[in-house]
Symmetry: C2
Subunit: 481 residues, 2 copies
């Protein structure tokens, strides 16, 4: 293990984090807030730590392999979250370290689960830092899922995200920067566009920026305790629905679309399935809401579209108390918490491509039983998917379920009832935010015991890093020479 290179990279990343904390300082200064000083301290401490780590060792770029890659990936999120607590702690916005860490890792993993009870009492500086954690997390995920994980061979979806001029598994260095820059540019353009459209709808500058940062990351942190329900405007809600939808698509599709290669987008199987699922579920929700609620059709459609898109993209914004809906819709929403966004998006969860290929494969298994000697591979975009990938996808889903079950047991052991335990674990592992039961859309995670918060933070990390990345670090397989 080449710890020098690892430390160097962590140093550079910390400097980046310190720089972004600086933006929160500027916001606090603009609003003449007392928090400006502690935020400045947080930024300086982070920058300095980064400097020390980054320049502690002489440059030695050789010896960066798979093992180092796995360590750097998991470590980045953990180290970012540790330093990211400083703004909360030094401003006393969140006095407890456990709570501050929960909030920060929930930010960097773009989960959006919160322990805060009164967002409106926080300073603008702290609120914007909270949103920035998600936006940075989203940036991290883009480069992770489109460049780093494919190289590390994680998750079995390398085939489906690397269709653009992107990194090939063996030559990472020259192209990673290129791809990352290109996709970050798209991420930035989308974020700025959303700010523009939200401003048009009458949302103020501060709220527009914050919500755009957390929409594009499929994060879901809001500046209001009531989340998006604080803006009953149909226009604003539809704008957010549209950008959540964008954030849940493969960013390479956006790249094609911006290059006007729309045919490539429409022909992409995952994009079609993703869109199809969303439309189907919006339809079902709208119908059931219309039958069971005494509200105008427009409200039912909007609430349906908002919650379906918010949960499926794993954003977690809330525009209505869905726990007040009929049990069928609650169960359906809970199920959607497992779907997740597209591969190569900022969304979490299992991911549409895995769910879809698994459903297809289950059907093919029937064929295989009838014709035991035939080789019947799953097809994606009309090409046969290699057996190795299919099996990895199945493994991923089974592992996801095993971790989910284990998580529910742990939360039940800590005293949560079954529904709340399932809600908390599904929402954390899937990087969604609000769950069901006592961690529903109108509640938050503050009331959980400390161990529960650490454990859920760990689940967020696992979910965000496609399970295997974190599990490998915990297994003897990784550490054996």
């Amino acid at each position: 293990m080449n710890f020098r290179v690892v430390s160097k990279i962590m140093g550079r990343l910390l400097m980046l984090e310190g720089f972004f904390m600086g933006l929160a300082v500027i916001v606090a200064v603009l609003y003449h807030e007392e928090d400006a000083l502690p935020l400045l301290w947080a930024s300086l401490i982070t920058l300095l730590s980064g400097l020390v780590l980054g320049f502690l060792f002489r440059e030695k770029n050789n010896g960066f392999g798979k093992k180092e890659g796995f360590l750097v990936v998991s470590l980045s999120w953990v180290v970012f979250s540790f330093f990211g607590t400083l703004p909360f702690l030094l401003t006393h916005s969140i006095p407890s370290f456990t709570d501050a860490f929960f909030e920060t890792i929930s930010g960097f993993t773009t989960t959006g689960a919160s322990i805060l009870n009164d967002l409106e009492s926080l300073s603008h500086g702290v609120l914007v830092w909270r949103s920035i954690t998600q936006w940075l997390g989203g940036m991290g995920i883009i480069v992770l899922s489109l460049a780093i994980l494919p190289m590390l061979g994680i998750g079995g979806i390398q085939l489906f995200v690397a269709e653009v001029p992107g990194p090939s598994p063996d030559k990472l260095h020259p192209k990673v920067k290129e791809t990352a820059k290109r996709l970050w540019a798209i991420y930035l353009v989308f974020t700025i566009s959303e700010v523009f459209f939200l401003l048009l709808g009458g949302m103020d500058w501060f709220d527009s920026v914050n919500h755009s940062l957390t929409t594009m990351a499929t994060g879901g942190f809001s500046t209001k305790q009531a989340s998006i329900a604080a803006w009953p405007s149909s226009y604003i809600q539809y704008v957010i629905i549209f950008f959540m939808f964008l954030a849940g698509t493969n960013f390479t599709m956006a790249y094609f679309a911006l290059k006007l290669k729309t045919r490539k987008v429409w022909k992409n199987e995952e994009f079609r399935v993703y869109t199809g699922f969303i439309l189907l579920f919006i339809l079902i929700f709208t119908i059931v809401l219309s039958v069971t609620r005494d509200l105008p059709f427009g409200d039912n459609l909007r609430d349906a579209a908002f919650q379906v898109v918010s949960i499926m993209t794993t954003t977690g914004f809330v525009s209505a108390d869905y726990l007040a809906w009929v049990p069928f819709l609650i169960v359906l929403l809970f199920m959607l918490m497992f779907f997740g966004g597209s591969a190569g998006s900022t969304g979490g969860g299992i991911k549409i491509i895995r769910v879809w290929l698994t459903i297809k494969n289950s059907y093919l298994e029937l064929k295989r039983i009838m014709h035991p000697n035939a080789v019947i591979p799953v097809r994606y975009n009309r090409r046969a998917v290699p057996e190795r990938i299919t099996s990895n996808i199945l493994n991923f889903i089974v592992l996801y379920m095993l971790i989910f079950i284990f998580g529910v047991l742990v939360m039940a052991m800590l005293g949560l009832d079954m529904t709340s335990a399932m809600g908390a674990v599904a929402a954390s592992l899937g990087n969604i935010g609000p769950g069901i039961g006592s961690v529903g859309p109108m509640d938050n995670f503050a009331h959980l015991p400390a161990i529960g918060k650490w454990f859920l933070g760990f689940l967020m990390l696992m979910g965000r890093l496609e399970l295997f990345t974190v599990l490998l670090l915990l297994s003897p397989v990784y550490w054996r020479k």
Copy 2:
């Protein structure tokens, strides 16, 4: 499709069913019950239908292949269940056809879910017929899982059940009868032994016989509304625990044990894992019950052992109201509903072997990521499991979860709350009986809407026939020429 042979086989099976109904007639006569006459009618109708079907066509034994096999398997359970309603309907014990069918298919699939509210008011004749449906179902499962399904290539566990002098996939006919007879003999010996031990404990003849019939089938129908809680005797409960444990083991293990080849049993990986899981969970339950309940240690141990073994073997007898336990134990019991018994036992569920190999495989997947070019197969009993089998097992588990989720959605649509929906579906699909929520150990399935009962009956059938058997019949793959 050779419908002649299919009809012939169904005819023979119906005659068998009619014969067993005759036993219920004898019981009714012995107890001087009015039900004797309607039971006789039921028996005669069934026998006659069997005769007509069986001798309608001339013998033509050629042309019995895989397709016919699938049809016969699913059809047998359905036809048995239809005719099995006659004793309930003609005696007016269950006036509604929906309810009678639910009760009967719950019997033949060895599930044990019931719609009856007052078992003590039924005649001995009807009660014994109810128990016989389970015992017959168990007989069917033994021959199905050890002889027929391996031939049809269903479920991916053919390797693990066919270790005895049993059928080889290509030559079914000569050996199926041999294997079946041998294993039925064991089944019968175990049943008689249990009767003996229960009589020793002071249970009367009638109850001893009924409970032995339903224990060995891992069925769980009782003659008392309170189930086994009606016999607080420790001895009786431990006898039932022991026989439930036996019923959940691979019957070929019992065959070895009876031949005093105990080393083969101890060295069998599934048997060790099955025993290990049961001991582990009994330990956990005993500890948690001791900490949270103010009862003597002996009671906690017994309740723990009884419920763990009853649920894990998918029997479904109840000795205590487990829904009154702490949420952690309820969640854990609910999780156990998915485990199921050993392959080649009468137990349902996913089956230990599949759960175990999947857990092992998940761990190996980490190795595969570190060494992408190495071939790393799962091992069972120290031998490498072929890729095809591993993948079939993963498919089975994923399909099981998909059907579970679909089932919960359907039940939620019918108005059940989430917990009850999950309980009803897990208990039906896993062939257990009582679930959680409103279909818990102290309740029954009577209050469900009619569509829900038919749907759950269908899930019982799917779960019992290892999913693929039934799904195949419903898919175009099967019917295409």
